[in-house]
Symmetry: C2
Subunit: 164 residues, 2 copies
């Protein structure tokens, strides 16, 4: 069983290549997602990153979209593992991909404040699962997202990549 | 009048700081958007960028979300300038921000193929405008987006940034 103090990414996909959340990406964002203590939400904390600026003094919305995309997907996968009564890192591996990313920008997100992402599956954990994700800048909710993540077959994905 | 052979970003916001589309960002994506010859769609072309990998061999969906976000916003602003009968780069400056970003991933986007983004305002050019954006990997439509961009007052934005 994988170490439950590690991030979901390091437990279930330590070989991950993704720019947003891959543990092995040399220059990526290395988003790390964890179950909260109550087992209700999946949480990620990210420092403000001055490179990802939009307007002066404001975080770039596209950066927030990347955080929401990867973190919401990890929430979907965490809920799938739990629905099967298994720990992340056990086999067979569970993989999801983004079907639809829906991000609503409610307020400007200020630079220089730690971002907290809170995500959970709303409704059924199924082949297509709906994930709600909130982005908090300190104690201000600046972005909310409503997205769909699709469970996929890993071998089929690898084949798609090989054909690409 | 600004040089019509330049990108919209360089005509209307040569001082732009945005990671995605700001002309002055030192390490950003420098997305460049142009009216097509028919004046119907706004087009951007981006090379494949191996840094922004998702699964091995596939483009990271969060990278595509960044491209869609900035390019769709530039389409909104281009339609606003045209609706006012003005060239981009004339004053007063027109600014929009993302209200909602909606990105549907229809097929995997292969690495190593040039991406073409095609965007246009669907319906009324208004304070809130709906922008459709397609992402083509070569001649394959891999992503479509349906988003809302909100026209804002530049001075108010600067004030928000100063307070942040």
């Amino acid at each position: 069983m994988s170490d439950p103090t590690l991030a979901l990414q390091d437990r279930a996909a330590p070989e991950g290549t993704c720019y947003g959340c891959g543990s092995t990406h040399p220059s990526g964002l290395h988003i790390k997602s964890y179950w909260d203590d109550a087992g209700e939400q999946v949480i990620a904390r990210m420092p403000s990153n001055p490179e990802f600026v939009g307007w002066p003094g404001l975080v770039y919305g596209g950066y927030i979209a990347m955080l929401v995309d990867c973190h919401s997907n990890w929430a979907a996968m965490a809920f799938h593992y739990r629905a099967e009564g298994r720990e992340p890192g056990t086999l067979p591996k569970i993989d999801c991909v983004t079907g639809h990313l829906g991000v609503s920008y409610r307020k400007p997100t200020p630079m220089g404040v730690e971002l907290t992402l809170k995500a959970w599956v709303e409704g059924e954990v199924a082949r297509k699962s709906r994930v709600i994700c909130e982005v908090w800048a300190g104690d201000v909710l600046t972005v909310s997202a409503d997205s769909i993540f699709v469970r996929v077959d890993t071998a089929a994905l690898a084949q798609q990549a090989a054909k690409a």
